[in-house]
């Protein structure tokens, strides 16, 4: 009997593993009429686009509109002010697959989808942060726009201030400078994405000049690269 039970359990494990393998989804596979990332990238500004991708972060919900970062295996999307009920917003957990239809637009260098609607699809994918440290200062960095990325071994050049000129208060966006190989970059803790109660906000407030840090976040653009940091670790 014991042998039979063991045999059955082993069989079940094998079947289970096969089942898991079978469910592994192709995160770049698109439904009929949906653009691939390459097609989206090639689309002209102001044209209608339909994409499918996975929620990587929710920035804000307001007045039945949501702003979210999405990503698939090839690239990332920033969807600004997408029509979304508060109830649906709660369903947009990290990894949720959605189909978005809207208009491609650009605002101060940030390419985004505006005036969009969406529907939730079957599927789940959470992207790992891609290390783009070596791309800083190169023309290739913009190809990673809106992706969940990592920067490693950067040195803090100035302590964080509230708003770009220090005119804000606790809870406002934090701005701080970090450098790599002698070049300084401004990074941001975006208060709608990660507010004053989050670990990253508190951690960035405590950063000291000279700290060497690893960071993760989303590759936002505003008149140049302006990463929105979601995690920081002092080395």
């Amino acid at each position: 009997m014991k042998k039979l039970t063991a045999l059955l359990m082993a069989l079940l494990m094998v079947v289970g593993c096969v089942g898991c393998g079978g469910k592994e989804e192709d995160i770049n596979k698109k439904s009929e009429g949906v653009m691939t990332y390459a097609e989206y990238e090639a689309a002209e500004l102001e044209t209608k686009v339909t994409i499918e991708a996975y929620v990587q972060a929710k920035q804000s919900w307001w007045d039945n509109t949501a702003t979210v970062y999405l990503q698939d295996g090839d690239g990332a999307y920033f969807v600004y002010g997408m029509a979304c009920s508060e109830e649906d917003y709660a369903k947009l957990t990290t990894g949720t697959k959605i189909k978005v239809t809207g208009y491609k637009a650009e605002w101060s260098g940030e390419v985004e989808i505006m005036d969009a609607t969406f529907e939730i699809m079957e599927g789940n994918y959470v992207a790992k942060a891609e290390d783009v440290t070596s791309l800083l200062g190169t023309d290739d960095l913009i190809k990673k726009q809106n992706m969940f990325v990592a920067f490693k071994g950067m040195t803090v050049e100035s302590a964080a201030i509230y708003k770009w000129d220090g005119s804000g208060q606790y809870g406002d966006d934090l701005y701080f400078n970090v450098s790599l190989n002698g070049t300084t970059y401004t990074f941001t803790v975006e208060s709608y994405l990660t507010d004053g109660s989050t670990d990253v906000y508190k951690a960035v407030k405590e950063l000291k000049v000279g700290d060497v840090v690893d960071m993760e976040g989303f590759l936002y653009w505003y008149e140049g690269v302006n990463p929105h940091i979601t995690n920081v670790t002092v080395k």
């Binding site: 770009w164 000129d165 220090g166 406002d172 140049g224």
Partner: protein, 540 residues
């Protein structure tokens, strides 16, 4: 940095909904609202008061420093009053937070705001303190005998600016700073295109030059700037654009009583023009493209219309700038009054922060708040704050002061405090105060303003996306915009859309009888069930 304004702008829509909710709450509170403020005989300096001041700054550290210094100076004069500063960089956010806090009686004591917004705050019961009595009080009023600082008297507040704070028969605010809109121009490019910049701009001139600037070479570079990017004309606040165009045309926008007049044929004509130039990409807006200053300073815009309070961002030598230094282009910057349809009868909007005092259960706390608000009108605060941007002090006392006159006389001495563009923008308003106007204030006027801007934004987006703008489009646009901002509903005397929550008067007799019968039936059912329960227990 300045990008945060974009995300906040999108939130304005919600305010319509919140305002409606507030109406409901005030209706629910009814007589439970705060008691009407009664002026105390004296200010009690033996008690300590903590007052909150919600202030707006233009993401400008110097402005924050001025607020902080004003608070410190005031607290030195009144050691029993502590002022807690909360900073905002957006009027909409203050408006939203005030509305949220009215419901819980946790409004600030003093806040920077727009009269349009106060009209909504007034839907609460005794929420905002009418200032008439406070202003006129011989001891604690404007320049009163017991006021511990050199405050202006009422006559020293520029009458035009003070009038903007009166509605419903009362003063509910005092002006803090005033600005208007100006057109910041790349004169170098205008002349390169073969035009001479006139002293007074017309809309026709701007459209013509903007279209002329769209010529490109075979590689897609614009001939005038040699770049692949050019938006000759960018308007920051499209609500102001529509409002001022209508005013200049003598066309309706709204009445003092709150009647909505926006959706008419003149508006259509203006939108067709907007569509024409939006389609060629000669015209765009802040919401669609970004800050006019960013494009202007990069040599990618020729006419940038923005507030005079944004002057420090405009031009090659602007002290504030959001774009990388290597992107800034050398050009000659000029400032002009915004374009007109009739240059002999120019019209321009008056805008800028005002201040109001919120009511509290303790009249002494209100009096402390009033004294602080009055302190913000002193010469030192007025001149210091006005110099941070293209603002104008709201008192003749400050405007005529030696310090302020000296400031005005030194335009161009440096690119910081005396930045020429900022001072010329300031002078533009000082010279044209009598040509400024404001729109009527009523509960709902903030929504109407949003709708005016939305008409322009939607139309520009439509043509950029290849939609046809024709009569059918206009019909749909009007209908959708009216619906979105609840402007298509019957309006009460206050101008607000009549909602289900509004007091509809006493119940009809038949309804009252029906409700009475229902209540009686439930009571009888309850009695019967109770009796049955007691009988059953006794049987056990």
């Amino acid at each position: 940095m300045m990008k945060s304004v974009k995300k906040l702008l999108s939130r304005v829509l919600l305010l319509v909904v919140l305002a409606r909710g507030l109406g409901c709450l005030s209706g629910c509170h009814g007589s439970r609202g705060l008691k009407e403020f009664v002026m105390p005989e004296t200010f009690d300096t033996s008690q300590n008061y903590e007052i909150t001041f919600w202030a707006k700054n233009d993401t400008n550290r110097t402005q924050v420093d001025i607020y902080e210094k004003a608070i410190a100076d005031f607290e030195a004069l009144y050691p029993n009053v502590k002022v807690v500063l909360r900073l905002y960089t957006d009027y909409g956010r203050i408006y939203n937070d005030v509305i949220t806090n009215i419901a819980t009686n946790t409004t600030p004591n003093v806040c920077i705001t727009y009269p349009d917004h106060i009209a909504t705050y007034l839907t609460g019961v005794n929420t905002v303190v009418p200032l008439d009595e406070l202003m006129a009080d011989a001891e604690y009023g404007l320049g009163g005998s017991e006021v511990a600082f050199d405050a202006p008297v009422q006559d020293e507040i520029i009458p035009k600016f003070l009038e903007e704070c009166a509605f419903g028969g009362h003063y509910y605010a005092l002006p803090y700073m005033r600005s208007t809109e100006a057109c910041y121009i790349n004169k170098t490019f205008v002349e390169k295109l073969g035009y001479t910049l006139p002293e007074k701009l017309t809309w026709e001139f701007i459209w013509e030059v903007s279209e002329a600037a769209m010529a490109q070479d075979g590689e897609g570079n614009f001939l005038v700037n040699g770049q692949k990017v050019l938006i000759p004309f960018i308007y920051k606040s499209t609500d102001n654009m529509m409002i001022q165009m209508l005013r200049q045309k003598g066309a309706g926008y709204s009445t003092e009583e709150g009647e909505i007049q926006l959706f008419h044929d003149t508006t259509r004509e203006l939108l067709y023009t907007v569509a024409e130039h939006g389609a060629t990409r000669a015209f765009s807006t802040f919401k669609i493209s970004s800050y006019p200053a960013n494009f202007l300073n990069a040599g990618q815009c020729i006419f940038a219309i923005d507030s005079t309070a944004g002057a420090t961002w405009m031009g090659t030598d602007a002290p504030l700038c959001d774009i990388a230094e290597e992107k800034i282009v050398e050009f000659e910057t000029e400032v002009r009054m915004l374009p007109q349809f009739d240059t002999e009868n120019p019209q321009m909007i008056s805008q800028g922060p005002s201040m109001c005092v919120f009511n509290k259960s303790d009249p002494q706390e209100v009096l402390a708040s009033w004294l602080f608000m009055q302190f913000l009108l002193t010469n030192e605060v007025q001149t210091a704050y006005s110099q941070t941007e293209g603002y104008v002090p709201v008192t003749s006392k400050a405007q005529e002061s030696a310090e302020y006159q000296d400031y005005l006389s030194r335009a161009g001495e440096d690119n910081e405090l005396y930045y020429r563009i900022k001072l010329e923008a300031t002078q533009l308003l000082l010279d044209n105060v009598e040509k400024t106007f404001v729109t009527p204030v009523f509960n709902g006027s903030a929504s109407l303003r949003d709708a005016a801007g939305q008409l322009v934004e939607t139309t520009v987006k439509a043509v950029r996306r290849g939609q046809t703008v024709d009569e059918a489009y206009m019909e749909t646009l009007y209908r959708d915009t009216m619906s979105l901002y609840r402007l298509d509903q019957p309006r009460s005397q206050s101008g607000a859309a009549v909602s289900a929550e509004e007091d509809l008067g006493p119940l009809p007799a038949a309804s009252a009888v029906l409700i009475g019968v229902l209540v009686s039936a439930w009571i009888l059912i309850g009695l019967y069930m109770g009796r049955k329960l007691v009988t059953a227990r006794r049987a056990h």
